[in-house]
């Protein structure tokens, strides 16, 4: 059987997920900010809550510039990566020269959002002032995405923290999110609310684990020729992210 039995809520897009909506809302606040209001936004939370998916959605919706920071980055690699994203082929020069070039290019598109993922690494490596310079020099809206402690880490840099005008927190998925994920990822299966509630509890609301659990449930359903499944029907496992323990 290959018919779509799930309700068409958010079919094919992650838009209905609460964390996606939260990230998009922060982005819109800093893009549509009134004149004179700073445009630095934060979206933060523990890993696995879907921050990256959310920022992908925001990137696509707003045609944003996207940078993902790595541990090995220096100020130079930051500037090179930024210029490469802005379409400069093989960027080179001094850090100051590259920053000036980046500012000039960013000023060509004064309200284009920039998303910086793993932004806490910039704070850890004392490079967050580069973001402030970008913001100060080009006045573009900047969305920093990072781990749970990002706001506290940023608080050490008063000059940056003062510029933050919108916050969004990634939260664990609830049953509405689980329902949306089931509709997106398992379109040919109806998963009843009691089973969805159990998935949310077992996975602690971690979106990536919910998706994996739903895939396991779909496999179980196919093996048992089910097009609809509830808690009492399912005897398989849930993906909790915990390594299995040896029975004693």
């Amino acid at each position: 059987m290959n018919q779509n039995v799930n309700p068409p809520v958010g079919f094919g897009t992650v838009a209905p997920l609460k964390n996606v909506a939260a990230a998009y809302s922060v982005a819109l606040k800093i893009i549509d900010r009134p004149a004179g209001v700073d445009g630095l936004g934060l979206f933060y939370g523990p890993s696995g809550y879907g921050k990256s998916k959310a920022s992908t959605f925001v990137q696509n919706k707003t045609s944003a510039i996207y940078l993902e920071v790595f541990d090995f980055w220096t100020k130079r690699t930051f500037c090179e990566a930024l210029l490469a994203e802005l379409g400069v082929d093989k960027p080179k020069g001094t850090i100051a020269g590259m920053m000036m070039q980046a500012l000039r290019l960013l000023q060509d598109d004064p309200n284009r959002l920039m998303i910086i993922d793993e932004a806490d690494k910039l704070v850890d490596k004392n490079m967050i002032e580069l973001v402030r310079d970008i913001y100060k020099g080009a006045r573009i809206p900047v969305l920093l995405v990072g781990e749970e402690l990002l706001p506290q880490k940023l608080a050490r840099y008063e000059r940056c923290e003062n510029r933050v005008t919108a916050y969004g927190m990634a939260n664990p998925s609830d049953i509405d999110d689980a329902r949306a994920l089931a509709a997106i990822y398992q379109r040919n299966l109806t998963v009843r609310d009691d089973l969805l509630a159990e998935i949310v509890i077992k996975t602690k609301g971690v979106a990536s684990r919910i998706v994996t659990s739903l895939a396991e449930i779909a496999q179980f359903s196919r093996a048992n020729s089910l097009t609809e499944i509830g808690l009492k029907d399912y005897t398989g496992s849930f993906f909790t992210g915990q390594a299995p323990r040896r029975a004693r």
Binding site: V14, A15, T56, N60, K61, Y66, G87, D108
Partner: protein, 203 residues
Amino acid sequence: MSAVNLLVQGVRPVRAGRDYFWQKLLEASRDGGSATVKELRGVCDPGHDEALRSFLARMYDAGHVERLDDRPPYRFRISSPQRDCPVISGDGKPSLKGRAQQQMWNVMRRARLGFTVEQLMIDATTDDVVVGFETAISYLRLLVRAGVVKITSNGRKPADRVFVLTGSGNTGSKAPRRMRAAFMYDPNTCSVLGEVVAEEERS
């Protein structure tokens, strides 16, 4: 019916077309500047006067370009600067053409562990741009043929395959574009006659 393999030795962007015109007008508009048609024509390849005039008229009608003088020679400048030329439809309204490819490209660049067609469709779809199976698979086929995307797990059906964007294929933020060209081929000498101009196919 005959087929030929083309060995492309180099490309040179044509100094004309909407993206080029926009870029030149954007440069001229910096710091309160502007440009006349004649000035813009001076930085374009010859033979594109009509395309330039039509571009300016369409952008003016859509509100993206301002005309500064009441009498010719008119000076033009971009009214709301942005890096990329706005895409507008035939009736002058904003168009979403080309967005599906760009959104898929954005997703591919971030999916370092690889992706299936379904994952690509879901992650690249937004409420205003729906990426369907045919759109995704046809773009992936072109990228695989170009060596930009590799298949890491070859499933029986296209939907089961896992794809990954290669490191060397990830050349930048702009999505590779599907181009088309018509050209004359001489079967007597096995050669292409004249210069080949390829144009973008937007979907």
